[in-house]
């Protein structure tokens, strides 16, 4: 029964204009990424109905929420669009379960408490149902905010920087939880973040927003390996690969990458993981030139793109999962890198981060 969320809008912002055209299918996760002030939150606000664009159309399936041409602009309460705010915006005077129960319109009054508890249970914080938001940690607040948004049975879900209010240690755990929670939903999801890595982990597809316009969209690995512009190349941070980890005596973990190939990491993990490595940690060498080394990961591939960003060169490789490598302009010239050529990417096991998902 879920339908696609579509938004077309244009409006002047402070010193540039927003002009976007996005569509998110049911059960799909689109991440809008870009630096702060690029207009990401504005997009969420106008989808939710908290802001009206100069011109545009927002709809879900056949239902129209906003159509400036037809002077139609439904208020937020009639759009049924879940919104997780950056600072969560929990109601401070209400306990966690009352926050969650706030939006339960179709649940009879007598059953709301039980249903709120059920949701909190699913999010692993049933024990905190009676606590006020001030007593909760950042990660707990995030879960209450998400439970509150989902309790209203939204037809689409918007998340504004869902991890930015968390400290780095909590962020990693929260990233994994959010990944699995969002993965179980059948509605369109749109999240905004300024972190390319977060977007790569949480979303199926990314749209890079720069000064109000989407400059490139696609899967994270594609964008990272074949950046359409220097801005995107600079913005796309760590390469993120997916695979299955197994521990190995000696402290190393071995990850069998989806699509083929093994990499090693000093991080300990087992089960499904995201492997992240920064492009500047990877070096390029001619294929077959060096002896195997258990502390060094090597993946061979065809060069897809060569993009210059300042004095560095970003090289996209068509490995089983696309990989982007950053080398100095000088070594790029020395190696004669060009699309279609074959090279081997090499990086240390110690530069390979594993994030269980």
């Amino acid at each position: 029964m879920s339908e696609a969320l579509s938004v077309t809008a244009s409006m002047p912002l402070r010193d540039f204009s927003l002009a976007i055209d996005l569509e998110v299918s049911a059960a799909r996760r689109l991440a809008l990424v870009g630096s702060s002030g690029a207009g990401k939150t504005t997009v969420l606000r106008l989808i939710a109905g908290l802001l009206s664009p100069a011109a545009g159309r927002v709809g879900l399936g056949d239902e129209v929420w906003l159509d400036t041409a037809a002077s139609l602009d439904l208020p937020p309460e009639r759009r049924r669009c879940g919104y997780v705010f950056q600072d969560y915006a929990l109601f401070p005077g209400m306990s966690a379960w009352r926050n969650v129960a706030y939006g339960m319109r179709s649940t009879p009054r007598g059953k709301r408490r039980a249903r709120a508890h059920e949701l909190l249970e699913r999010f692993g914080i049933a024990g905190l149902a009676d606590a006020r938001p001030a007593k909760l940690s950042g990660g707990e607040r995030q879960r209450v905010a998400l439970a509150r948004a989902l309790a209203a049975e939204p037809r689409a879900l918007l998340l504004d920087e869902p991890l930015s209010a968390l400290d780095p240690a909590t962020r990693r755990d929260s990233l994994r939880e959010l990944h699995s929670l969002l993965g179980g939903l059948s509605i369109p999801m749109l999240l905004v973040t300024h972190s390319f890595d977060e977007a790569a982990l949480l979303a199926d597809e990314l749209a890079v927003l720069d000064r109000g316009a989407v400059v490139q969209s696609g899967a994270a690995a594609e964008i990272s390996a074949q950046p359409g512009s220097a801005f995107v190349a600079d913005f796309a941070g760590a390469a993120v690969l997916h695979g299955q980890a197994t521990g190995e005596p000696g402290g190393l973990s071995v990850v069998r990458l989806r699509g083929g190939g093994d990499v090693r990491s000093v991080d300990r993990a087992s089960g499904p993981v995201a492997v992240s490595v920064f492009p500047w940690e990877i070096s390029l060498e001619p294929t077959g030139s060096a002896p195997p080394d258990s502390m060094l990961n090597r993946v061979e591939g065809e060069i897809a793109s060569v993009t210059t960003v300042g004095n560095r060169t970003r090289v996209g490789l068509l490995t089983p999962q696309p990989l982007s490598v950053e080398v100095t302009g000088r070594s790029a010239a020395a190696m004669d890198l060009h699309p279609g050529g074959r090279v081997t990417a090499a990086w240390k096991a110690s530069a390979t981060k594993l994030i269980p998902i």
């Binding site: 109905g49 208020p75 309460e77 049924r80 879940g82 705010f85 005077g93 209203a152």
Partner: protein, 270 residues
């Protein structure tokens, strides 16, 4: 041991003088006559009429102020519009208008010869020499106390929370009632108490606009003045004053308890 500075000594003496000056008159009300005589004086019909009228009139006035003033304050706090500063100043004007001037102003607008006098009469409403007139006077002088506090309290409400309520399906009224009002409750509570305190003490505007008819328009402050002017009425005036002081003190304490120290401080900032 450190020697006390001369300034420290002067400041200490000044503090004691101020304290004594403010507290002695209050204490005098209770100690000038014996408690038995004070309670006897309260037994008089005119005193009881006045207290009962004050209680009813101020409760109705405060109810009117809260019911109309809360949504008005919310709108003024949330909306940006041209002339907003002017509107806010107009609301605060009754704070600085002398009570006698307020009485004349009310007569000039709602009195029989006032610019709206005919319209008021057509509606079948009589204000002059009527309890309704007392309530009009109380609302006029007391509402700015509530409005100021309420506007400041609503302006401090986190708009993200209101937006969150809207995305969760609450309309403008439900988000106002369930999110904005609870967030602003300490400011609203202290505004209510201050407005009530001001209404209880109202004298000039009531006298000018509604007169001083026993059991109809003679509120406790007017009765104190009437007692004081009648031969041998000083004790009766003292007794009524003691009751008013007790009620006012209870209001002040409740403000401090509801909003903490900050509730009153916040009112000092425009």
């Amino acid at each position: 041991m450190r020697r006390r500075s001369i300034f420290g000594l002067v400041a200490l003496i000044a503090t004691l003088v101020v304290l004594a000056f403010l507290v002695i008159p209050i204490v005098a009300i209770f100690t000038n006559s014996s408690p038995v005589r004070l309670i006897e004086a309260l037994g008089e019909q005119s005193s009881r009429d006045a207290l009962w009228l004050s209680l009813r009139a101020t409760l109705i006035a405060v109810a009117v102020i809260v019911v109309l003033g809360t949504p008005a304050a919310y709108l003024l706090a949330m909306r940006e519009f041209r002339g907003r500063a002017l509107v806010l100043t107009a609301i605060e004007l009754p704070l600085v208008v002398p009570p006698a001037v307020a009485g004349i102003a009310l007569l000039a607008s709602f009195g029989p010869q006032g610019i709206l006098g005919a319209a008021v009469a057509d509606l079948g409403i009589e204000l002059v020499f009527q309890t309704a007139g007392v309530i009009v006077a109380l609302v006029f002088v007391a509402s700015p106390f509530f409005l100021r506090q309420a506007i400041a309290a609503f302006a401090a409400v986190d708009t993200r929370q209101l937006e969150a309520a809207r995305t969760l399906g609450a309309g403008p009224f439900r988000s106002f009632l369930t999110v904005a009002v609870p967030s602003a409750r300490s400011g609203l509570g202290s505004g209510l108490a201050l407005a009530w305190g001001r209404a209880l003490g109202e004298f000039g505007a009531t006298l000018m606009f509604a007169g001083s008819l026993q059991a109809v328009t003679q509120t406790a402050p007017l009765a104190i003045f009437a007692e004081f002017n009648s031969p041998g009425g000083f004790v009766g005036a003292l007794a009524l004053s003691a009751v008013l002081i007790a009620i006012s003190a209870a209001l002040l304490i409740s403000v401090k308890l509801v909003g903490g120290e900050r509730a009153l401080d916040a009112g000092a900032q425009p």
